[in-house]
Amino acid sequence: MTAFVEVSHLGRSFDVSKPWLNRVIERLPRRNLVAVSDVSFQIEEGAVYALVGESGSGKSTIGRMLAGLMTPSAGTVKVAGADLHADPAARKAAGIQMIFQDPYASLNPRWKVRRIICEPVVVAGGATAGLAERLLEQVGLAAEDADKFPHEFSGGQRQRICIARALAANPRFIICDEPTSALDVSVQAQVLNLMSDLRDELGLTYMFISHDLTVVRHMADRIGVLYLGRLMEEAMPEQLFARPRHPYTQMLLAAAPLMEGRTREIDLPKGEVPDPISPPPGCAFHPRCPFAIDLCRKERPELRDVDGVRVACHRAEDIVPASAA
């Protein structure tokens, strides 16, 4: 059985060299920023796959490559069996849509809501009569809102409009790039609930990108933890929260504020994320890892199965979380 979305050995680097003339005069080498390297995972149809990581970990880059907005420099993305980047028709057939982080930038400020929502159908050449009204009601807004401009709505309402636009394209797979991080906490829950309701109704597959583990916990069927463009751990939410295998995941969980944690001293993450232009040799996490041994500094650990969890750590078996969160 093959998965709906199959990502294998995906990589992307950016050329961040200075302009040609500066390089020649100052004798600087070309500089490459490796945003994503060797990332492989699969998403089952109808599932929610969550990618979490700090800023700069490459999660948005992966999202853009999965949407076909950016071409990978290595590896392949297959959606419903077709290679997204080799076959131009595959992108259309796969029905991929995206919901963006900033609801204030993702709607054309000069267009009325009706035109925004109907755009995917207009491009595909379908009939749009009553479509905007139906979709607006489906995402919990009023049919009369179709004749307003985006600036008349709040952030949460705008995000609902974005969802309506995505739905108009009749998608099978929706990539959500931090859809709630720009919203108030009270609105976050509403948008998340709407998204899970739509999944149940329409049988959608989601990839959910977030930096917030607590948001992901209730939505995701599987969580991938990203660090410096590499997958560190991949597990079901129960496994991940009950027993994080990778020291980085443990650190993330320890840093997340808890409801009952008012009295708890929060362990701050130690150290900074290294410069992705010159990543450390061996395991990318070793400079911040309390369990690092010589092997970690020399050899990069591959992602491997440990008790049904995929984890990239040499010492996955012998590390027991300090505070079994």
Binding site: L69, A105, S106, A124
Partner: protein, 305 residues
């Protein structure tokens, strides 16, 4: 219509307008001059280009003074051929404004198109277009216009030259002022193209041209009005300069610049009015349009609020 006007009058922008004497005055002068130019055939007491109505005996009449031979009185006097200066100014302004507006429109379309392409495509295309703009900026605009005029003169047969002169003038001035439009639009496009609504449009399957025209263009047009107004004043002056130098509007279709060129030959023989009144009109027109543009720039700049 009335409701829209009162909405405009009540708006923030309208408030600024009502409280700026410069804006009111320059808008008023612009309105009067443009109106006079548009309705010239109705306002002008004579048709200066109808040779049957011209009487050489009326030549060199001083303003508001009866002519020595015919006793006719002309508001602003007459030139050597007996043409009413007031009427020639009205008709001349028509030509000046026609050339100015069309030249700015031409420069606007060219500049906005190239700016959009440069900003959206980036890389080599951007580099090429902006280097061409840089190179053009190193030449004075008037030199570029004269160069184009010279080329056109070589291509167009002599018998069509007078007819084509106006159009050549429009293209020459338009080609010399597209750069500010292109620069502003390019900068704004580079900001807009990375916004998520453009990404969403790509995901929906819009082609690059459709994205540029439907999505980006409406969002980068704001500063264009200001540049266009200031460019209009510059275009009118450029047209007058070219016509004054004898490479612009022909004497059969004189613009304000042509009138000034004709008038300056009589300056030392004492007929000052043939020069002074067209020159004063040009000054008033350019000044009014320019200060209107200046005020627009300040009024529409959110940072100066």
């Amino acid at each position: 219509m009335i409701r829209q006007f009162s909405a405009f009058w009540q708006s923030d922008f309208g408030w600024k307008f009502r409280h700026s004497p410069t804006a009111i005055l320059s808008a008023l002068v612009t309105l009067i001059l443009v109106g006079a130019a548009i309705f010239a055939p109705l306002i002008a007491p004579y048709n200066p280009f109808d040779s049957s109505s011209l009487n050489l005996m009326n030549g060199f009449s001083a303003p508001m003074a009866p002519n020595a031979f015919t006793g006719e009185v002309f508001l602003l006097g007459t030139d050597d051929q007996g043409r009413d200066v007031f009427s020639t100014i009205l008709y001349g302004m028509r030509v000046s404004l026609f050339v100015g507006v069309l030249a700015v429109l031409f420069g606007l379309v060219l500049g906005v198109t190239l700016g959009l392409i440069a900003g959206y495509a980036g890389g080599r295309v951007d580099g090429f277009i902006m280097r061409v703009a840089d190179i053009q900026l190193t030449f004075p605009a008037i030199l570029v216009a004269m160069l184009i005029f010279g080329i056109a003169k070589g291509i167009i047969a002599p018998q069509y030259r007078d007819q084509m002169a106006i159009w050549v003038l429009i293209i020459a001035i338009g080609l010399s002022d597209w750069v500010p439009f292109a620069r502003v639009v390019r900068g704004a496009t580079m900001v807009e193209k990375n916004r998520d609504y453009v990404q969403a449009a790509r995901l929906i399957g819009r082609k690059p041209v459709a994205i540029m025209v439907l999505h980006i263009l409406p969002n980068v047009l704001n500063p264009i009005l200001v540049i266009a107004t200031i460019s209009l004043a510059l275009a009118i002056i450029a047209e007058a300069t070219l016509s004054f130098l004898g490479v612009g509007a022909p004497p059969t279709q004189p613009s304000l610049g042509t009138l000034i060129r004709i008038g300056q030959t009589f300056l030392f023989s004492g007929e000052w009015w043939i020069l002074l009144f067209p020159a004063a009109t040009l000054l008033a027109l350019a000044l009014a349009v320019n200060s209107l543009g200046d005020w627009l720039r300040d009024a529409l700049n959110p940072r100066l609020k």
